[in-house]
């Protein structure tokens, strides 16, 4: 059991938990993820470790409520406990001192990019962060990212804060302006990572993406998370989740992400109907 020490609502439907998980906290490296199961009937959900504190024995997770399982998790409060957490999983990121790295984050993807940006920053790499969200209220982790970046630029789809447009527009402007980073790190929704790779390919800039494939065990047993990289099938839970974005078959991965859409919809509808019922009874 993993007690929630701290809960914060970062933006509408985006929650942060600090959770007790000492063994994971003491082994976590940037790029690692974990798998949680909130309760006995729950599914196994992979989430990137957004931060860890070995001394306090805690890890930080950030998630957006999109389906039944994440909505249910979002209803957990401080003092509640998550039934199962296993980790750290995946291959840690190869982080070394470079001249310049651009971190491109879309939506809730800023949370998993934060430990990578910080690690680069601590090694003396110049970190330029580009953070995009739908609207001003959905921009999260601003203080954290500003503390570990040399420059931060924001974009919103509706123009309510920073650059008006997608975060890839910001990136294009920077690269067109002559910036040639050693590496671009892109984490966010699949269309955003694909668009980022398209831009960086034009300028010949190496790009690492972090894939959020559908997983079950997260330890290489089921192959649910397989993804084609450079023509070869890889298990993103073990060989990833970070890959060279220019070699990822995004079309295939985006199709694979729709495998259980019908079931997810059904589960969400049942959950909402049930939640309605609960509220009615409380009155």
């Amino acid at each position: 059991m993993h007690t929630i020490i701290e809960k914060e609502e970062l933006a509408p439907k985006i929650k942060l938990f600090v959770v007790k998980a000492p063994e994971i906290a003491s082994h976590a490296l940037p790029g690692h993820f974990f798998v949680l199961r909130a309760h006995e009937l729950g599914e196994r959900i992979p989430l990137t470790i957004a931060d860890s504190d070995p001394e306090a024995g805690t890890i930080t997770m950030v998630f957006q409520e999109v389906g039944k399982s994440t909505c249910e998790l979002g209803a957990f409060e401080e003092g509640d406990a998550i039934l199962d957490i296993v980790g750290p999983l995946g291959a840690p990121r190869d982080i070394r001192r470079l001249h310049t790295v651009v971190c491109v984050a879309g939506g809730v993807g800023v949370a998993p990019i934060y430990p990578e940006a910080r690690a680069f920053h601590q090694l003396g790499t110049r970190v330029i962060s580009l953070i995009g969200a739908q609207t001003k209220d959905m921009l999260i982790f601003k203080d954290r990212m500003e503390a570990v970046s040399d420059e931060v630029h924001y974009s919103t789809d509706d123009g309510s804060f920073g650059y008006h447009g997608f975060v890839t527009g910001l990136l294009r402007d920077l690269l067109a302006g002559g910036l040639r980073p050693d590496e671009v790190v892109a984490i966010g929704p699949l269309p955003m990572m694909r668009a980022t790779c398209k831009v960086t390919a034009e300028f010949g800039v190496k790009t690492i993406v972090s894939l959020n494939a559908i997983m079950v065990d997260g330890t290489g047993m089921c192959g649910s998370c397989r993804v084609t990289v450079d023509g070869k099938t890889m298990f993103s839970c073990v060989e990833g989740p970070a890959f060279d974005g220019h070699k990822v078959d995004f079309d295939e991965l985006m199709a694979r992400q729709t495998r259980f859409v019908a079931e997810e919809k059904l589960a969400m509808e049942r959950y909402q109907a049930h939640a309605e019922g609960c509220r009615c009874q409380r009155k």
């Binding site: 063994e23 994971i24 082994h27 199961r37 009937l41 729950g42 599914e43 196994r44 039944k68 399982s69 039934l83 199962d84 957490i85 296993v86 980790g87 750290p88 999983l89 079950v216 065990d217 330890t219 290489g220 047993m221 089921c222 192959g223 649910s224 397989r226 993804v227 084609t228 099938t233 073990v238 079309d251 295939e252 199709a255 694979r256 729709t258 495998r259 259980f260 019908a262 079931e263 997810e264 059904l266 589960a267 049942r270």
Partner: protein, 476 residues
């Protein structure tokens, strides 16, 4: 001499009924049938059955106890050698082990040793006899007070459970590490409820715990804690029983289409995550109308029968050799056929076909014929030129085997591995190339049987005991 009595068949759920539920198919002997079946044993002096048992259960003794109506005693007699009798009674291939050697089998049908083992174990459980009160060499007072030594067992499948139980029985403090949230390994994620009810796995694991074994789930050794850290934490030895969990795919085009599962994924969703109870349980599973399961081992049968129970209209086993070469147990092939699974033999998939949205719509196959025997002694399947055809399917399950799980193996520096990533051991002791690290089960052999893994767990337990005692003597 009593009149010759035929072997008693175990009652089963009717095939039309059982394809609509996940309840156990085989129902077990009633007490009278068990006694009658046990009385068929002629107690021949050579006991060939015992030699056929990888864990050396004293079969004639427990069979005699059943014949005498001493059912709980029979279960305890088995448990002196085998900590998991209710499981072995269900999933052991007795027909190629103990029962194959039974003297009665020379002229008629062998004693139904597996069914009797299952009966005794089930009877003991149902009678509520405290699980831990089994063997005479029984449990100590818990892990903390033990003195013989401290052992980490990695993986709570059949090899790990057996190794842990045997070491606990002789006084070791044992911690059993499991990466999933639930114990049992392949018994939990691989074998379906209708063949091995999970309540039985739970109770057998409880029995092992009652011997003093501490279980830590959600701990992936090599990631959550390293092997070096375990040694630093005072473990004298480590047993790796991490299984063969890495699924193979066929390597044909279209295998990443939606609707293609590894058998591991399909079965893990259904068994471990209980997706067959979706949406009560949150993990989804999607099975289409027409399913092809590629492969013909027990895992393929399990996947095919699970697909039927999840509502598939048509399920076919697709196998490139003929019926005689099918690796599954005869009993499982019969069960699958009774339930309506088609066998498409001498058929090999060449590619999976998808629609414009990335979903499976068919599978192209080619007919095969058998040629000369290959190095495995089986006749080699050869494609028949021009015989390609397309199967109309929307789900494909790849059940063509698994390799040893590489995760932990990679995390142990200096560990010698073979060509297929299998850990190389001394077969008499279970020792690996790294001092203090032992291994057994599928991680060594590649995917094999539950009982073979248990036998390997037993061998390693003895090897570990010798190793730790020698180490302690040296340091005294």
């Amino acid at each position: 001499m009593p009149a010759k009595v035929d072997r008693h068949a175990m009652p089963k759920q009717d095939s039309r009924e059982r394809v609509r539920n996940f309840n156990e198919v085989a129902l077990g002997y009633p007490a009278e049938a068990a006694v009658e079946e046990a009385k068929r044993c002629i107690a021949c002096p050579k006991k060939p059955c015992v030699a056929g048992c990888p864990v050396e259960v004293d079969i004639p003794s427990f069979v005699k106890l059943i014949a005498e109506g001493k059912f709980v005693e029979a279960a305890r007699s088995i448990k002196e050698k085998n900590s998991l009798p209710a499981i072995c009674g269900r999933v052991c291939p007795q027909e190629t082990q103990c029962e194959e050697r039974c003297t009665l089998g020379k002229k008629g049908k062998p004693v139904a040793i597996g069914a009797l083992e299952r009966f005794a174990a089930d009877y003991e459980r149902a009678s509520g006899a405290p699980a831990g009160s089994g063997p005479a060499s029984g449990p100590g007072s818990g892990a903390a007070s033990r003195a013989a030594g401290k052992v980490a067992v990695v993986g709570s499948g059949p090899a790990g459970l057996t190794c842990a139980a045997d070491l606990a029985r002789v006084g070791y403090s044992v911690v059993l590490f499991e990466s999933l949230h639930s114990t049992g390994g392949v018994l939990r994620y691989g074998i379906p409820e209708f063949r091995l009810p999970k309540a039985i796995v739970d109770e057998e694991v409880e029995y092992v715990k009652s011997l003093g074994v501490e279980v830590r789930v959600n701990t992936l050794v090599g990631k959550t804690v390293s092997v070096d850290e375990l040694f630093r934490d005072g473990f004298d030895a480590i047993f790796l029983g991490t299984g063969a969990g890495l699924p193979h795919f066929l390597g044909i085009p279209g295998e990443n289409l939606n609707g293609v599962y590894s058998a591991n994924e399909f079965l893990t969703r259904s068994n471990l995550m209980k997706a067959y109870l979706f949406p009560e349980y949150d993990t989804p599973i999607r099975v289409g109308r027409r399913v092809a399961v590629v492969g013909a081992g027990n895992v393929a049968m399990d996947a095919a029968r699970t697909a039927l129970r999840l509502g598939a209209e048509k399920v076919a086993i697709v196998y490139r050799r003929s019926r005689a070469e099918m690796p599954a147990r005869l009993e499982e092939i019969e069960n699958a056929e009774e339930e309506g699974v088609d066998l498409m033999l001498l058929t090999n998939p060449t590619r999976v076909l998808g629609d414009e949205r990335g979903w499976v719509r068919g599978m192209e196959c080619i007919r095969m014929e058998l040629g000369e025997a290959d190095e495995s002694g089986r006749r080699r399947p050869i494609p028949v030129p021009g015989s390609e055809f397309v199967m109309d399917i929307d789900t494909m399950i790849s059940a063509v085997g698994t390799d040893p799980n590489p995760l932990l193996v990679r995390a142990v520096p200096g560990l010698r591995v073979g060509r297929h990533g299998n850990v190389v051991i001394n077969e008499d002791t279970g020792e690996t190339s790294v001092p203090g690290v032992f291994a057994g089960g599928d991680i060594v052999t590649g995917s094999a049987t539950v009982i073979a893994a248990m036998g390997a767990g037993k061998v390693a337990a003895r090897g570990i005991d010798r190793f730790v005692r020698a180490k302690r003597e040296r340091s005294e």
